[in-house]
Subunit: 280 residues, 2 copies
């Protein structure tokens, strides 16, 4: 089988694999100072946003990623009030964070306003909570933002970034994690998307090392399916400042006062289970 020009394809060169979605039409094509943002209407996955040719969000499967970047870390913290999201310009993670009634402030800092403008136009569900009075949207350099933050100003930092190339590369470094550690209160947590367990084992291992060198006491990788990302299997890595992310508020998660499509308490526990090859 070959794919004609009606398909969008993302190639994973290092792994000799590719994922494609059949497109009906292109809805958006903007080159910002930072990135090339495109939005397509697809046959089977609803609306698709790509950045520099890589899948960022589809209507059909973004719920898994956004829920797993937010609810596990929020139910791991004892009482999260101040949340910082670095990246996350599509606003899907922000929406999930704001489902937690205890959150009093959620700042989103994405370097590229173009991502949020595209989401406002083409992903109305994701920007649904942008008018929540607890939401603050900034378009700025996340690395500098965290470095400049007052010590102990956040309970949770969520790093919802693109892959570790281009603008996001610095978000995978020890120096950045050190800034995050300083900006967190005691008992605070960071979570960073950490790529595919099948394709990017080295990125995950390096992230654990960098987080621990940066001062975090305990780290934990969660894994979950994500059809439209490389290998269809993804991960998020948590690190705690003076606390271990290996247990969470299970009763609160079981009685959460909001709806989800993927996350629940059993899924949270399940996401912590690592396959044999990752334990070695």
């Amino acid at each position: 089988m070959t794919l004609d020009k009606n398909w969008y394809t993302e190639i994973y060169p290092a792994d000799g694999a590719a994922f494609s979605l059949k497109v009906k039409k292109k809805l958006h094509d903007v080159q910002t100072p930072y990135q090339h943002i495109e939005v397509y209407e697809t046959e089977g996955f609803g609306t698709l946003m790509t950045i520099d040719g890589l899948v960022m969000v589809t209507d059909r499967d973004n719920f898994i990623y956004h829920e797993m970047m937010s609810h596990p870390v929020l139910f791991t913290h004892a009482n999260p009030k101040n949340v910082l999201i670095i990246g996350g310009g599509d606003c899907g993670t922000l929406r999930e964070v704001l489902k937690h009634p205890g959150v009093v402030q959620a700042q989103q800092v994405d370097i590229d306003e173009g991502v949020t403008r595209a989401a406002e136009l083409h992903f109305p569900d994701l920007v649904d909570s942008n008018s929540d009075p607890r939401a603050e949207l900034y378009f700025d350099d996340g690395i500098k933002w965290v470095a400049d933050a007052a010590p102990g100003s956040y309970d949770i930092i969520i790093v919802d970034s693109t892959d570790p190339v281009g603008p996001a590369e610095g978000l995978f470094s020890e120096a950045f994690f050190r800034s995050c550690h300083r900006a967190l209160r005691d008992g605070g947590l960071i979570v960073q998307q950490s790529e595919s367990p099948l394709f990017h084992q080295k990125i995950i291992n390096d992230m654990h090392s960098a987080m621990r060198r940066a001062g975090f006491d305990s780290t934990l990788t969660l894994n979950f399916p994500q059809c439209s990302y490389p290998s269809g299997w993804w991960s998020a890595t948590l690190a705690g400042k003076g606390m271990a992310p290996t247990s969470f508020r299970e009763q609160d998660a079981a009685r959460k006062p909001f709806k989800t499509l993927y996350y629940n308490a059993a899924i949270h526990r399940a996401a912590m289970a690592l396959p044999e090859f990752m334990l070695r």
Copy 2:
């Protein structure tokens, strides 16, 4: 990006998606009386076998599927001795089953000898245990095999089939599950691959219904990543005859006397966790 002729592509038409692997060369191309079997050497996934154009096995990720089709059901049964595998011609599931020292007989019944011959030539790791004295390989119609089996002759039936089209369609029917129920001893279990949680929710639901109508008391779906299958996320559905597959021999699984790459006791528990959208 477009893919040139050096890529093998499987299209999932109903979902407007496709998965591709870059190939170095074709190693095998045989039309059997049943199916079209091809084997490729790929750039990043080792050897790839396709049947009628659909991915069956790759060197890189078959371990997850084969381990999840075997170890959960074997560690759920109290003391499995006689195991029947329907399909499974690549012999990877057979190899995993034979890792259990308590198994005294493992019959594999695949309708198409061509699959096993191709595996012998191109997947030496998978056929590694074919000379085990407990292994019996038959090339025959699995539906008829089970219908003709003496009542209560097996502890476990593993249905390691292709998708529910073509030769495998009957393996998803109530009539087949009824034959399996009769062929199992009390306390016996069946497990059948049940496609993608994201793409094939109806197939999974229909399988539960068909298994229960066929006489099984209790059913359970496990889910796990499987990069090279549609959506990168796969499932296996278990059903028990006079027993519930919802608990398993956790201590035995934790102390298993053999190596795995994916399966362990925590992964077994994790695979039982269903996302919110599947619980509805």
